[in-house]
């Protein structure tokens, strides 16, 4: 029973850590305005 409880706590802890890391992940979100045109090599 104690082992099961420890396992449950570890699982909850792992989920919590992943949620925190995900929330802190600082991916900047660059915006784009404009468009793509064919490259001119001349």
């Amino acid at each position: 029973m104690r082992l099961l409880f420890r396992g449950f706590v570890a699982l909850v802890g792992a989920i919590a850590i992943s949620v925190i890391i995900k929330a802190r992940e600082s991916g900047s979100v660059p915006l784009q305005s404009g468009g793509w045109r064919n490259l001119e090599t001349d």
Binding site: P30, L31, S33, G34, W36, N38, T41
Partner: protein, 329 residues
């Protein structure tokens, strides 16, 4: 007549064989693959100047150029054997160990008077050429950032899976920096129809190939697009067999620098199926090597050919080359 050897008839090798068969110059081409039935069925579809060989017996054939399109990790040993026999080598591998190993063979290649074209593919390969071409407009290059989306055949998909879990190798303020693969999420805007995709650090060799061309630049980085599932399962073996071809993909090359004391950014991109694009890039570099325009040299495509000449040929193919016109902030 000097002939060509193609080692590996996967998604890239088989398309390359078809492209070479359309060439006006009927140079003999020897095809090698571990799967003999695949080689035999491909030979039936090709011209009379194509021959099957059961193994890469470089010593037996009169080959002047060996194109290695076998899965990454299998390039170094066969390349070394070929160079010792005085055969030029074109490698499509995007694995860091293959690229570093092949670059280290430069003294041997110089001694034998042959060329080694390293990382000849969609990315690296075309991306290096795009970076070099974009850089021509600048007085000084500060940063080069490369991103790629999509995979070619099964070997490419396996390498994508492998790369995302291994540390990246970036050029950062004058030194090599390794960071965990799968970190550094960044939303990258690729040309249509790929558009926005989250990209992450991964074990990619672009910086290794570009740094000798831009030794004074402060940053050269490369990223790989990946889904959450890719990142979550990166530490596991591939759970499902990879597809035969990953379909459409894209690359994006962002060069930041100074022009007349003003900071400027130039963004170039390309859209194609990665396996098709790699086959086209290899065919183009092979034709250029066969001609007398290039002397013996070792490095990435951008350090071997003139980027403008190369892009002028590539633009006529199935690869769409574009430039971003607008604001990236």
């Amino acid at each position: 007549m000097a002939s060509i050897g193609v080692l590996g008839l996967g998604a890239v090798g088989s398309q390359l064989a078809h492209l070479l068969s359309t060439s006006k110059n009927k140079t003999p081409v020897f095809l090698y693959d571990a799967n003999i039935s695949k080689t035999a069925s491909l030979i039936d579809e090709l011209e009379e100047n194509f021959f099957a060989s059961q193994n890469p017996r470089i010593e037996d054939e009169e080959i002047s150029i060996l194109i290695i399109t076998s899965p990454p990790g299998q390039h170094l040993e066969v390349a070394q054997r070929a160079i010792k026999k005085g055969i030029s080598v074109i490698s499509t591998s995007d694995r860091i160990s293959d690229v570093t190993g092949l670059l280290k063979l430069k003294p041997l290649a110089d001694e034998k008077n042959v060329s080694i074209v390293v990382g000849a593919g969609f990315s690296p390969g075309l991306t290096c050429v795009l970076a070099h071409f974009a850089a021509k407009e600048f007085d000084y290059i500060d940063e080069i950032h490369i991103a790629k989306d999509g995979t070619g055949g099964p070997a490419c998909a396996k390498q994508h899976h492998r790369a995302i879990k291994r540390p990246s190798l970036d050029w950062w303020d004058g030194k090599w920096v390794r960071r965990p693969g799968g970190s550094g999420r960044e939303l990258v805007w690729f040309p249509e129809p790929v558009a926005g995709s989250d990209c992450y650090r991964a074990a990619l060799p672009e910086a290794l190939l570009l740094q000798p061309l831009f030794p004074d630049s402060s940053r050269i980085t490369s990223r790989l697009s990946a889904t959450r599932q890719d990142r979550f399962t990166a530490w596991l073996p591939m759970l499902t067999p990879p597809h035969n071809d990953g379909g459409i993909g894209a690359v994006r090359v962002e060069v930041r620098g100074r022009l007349e004391n003003e900071r400027t950014t130039r963004v170039l991109g390309a859209v194609s199926s990665p396996s098709t694009a790699t086959a086209i890039v290899v065919q183009t570099i092979t034709e250029m090597l066969k001609g007398t325009t290039i002397g013996p040299s070792t490095g990435g495509i951008a350090s071997i050919v003139d980027s403008t000449d190369f892009l002028n040929i590539i633009k006529q193919s199935a690869i769409k080359i574009v430039e971003f016109d607008g604001s990236t902030k």
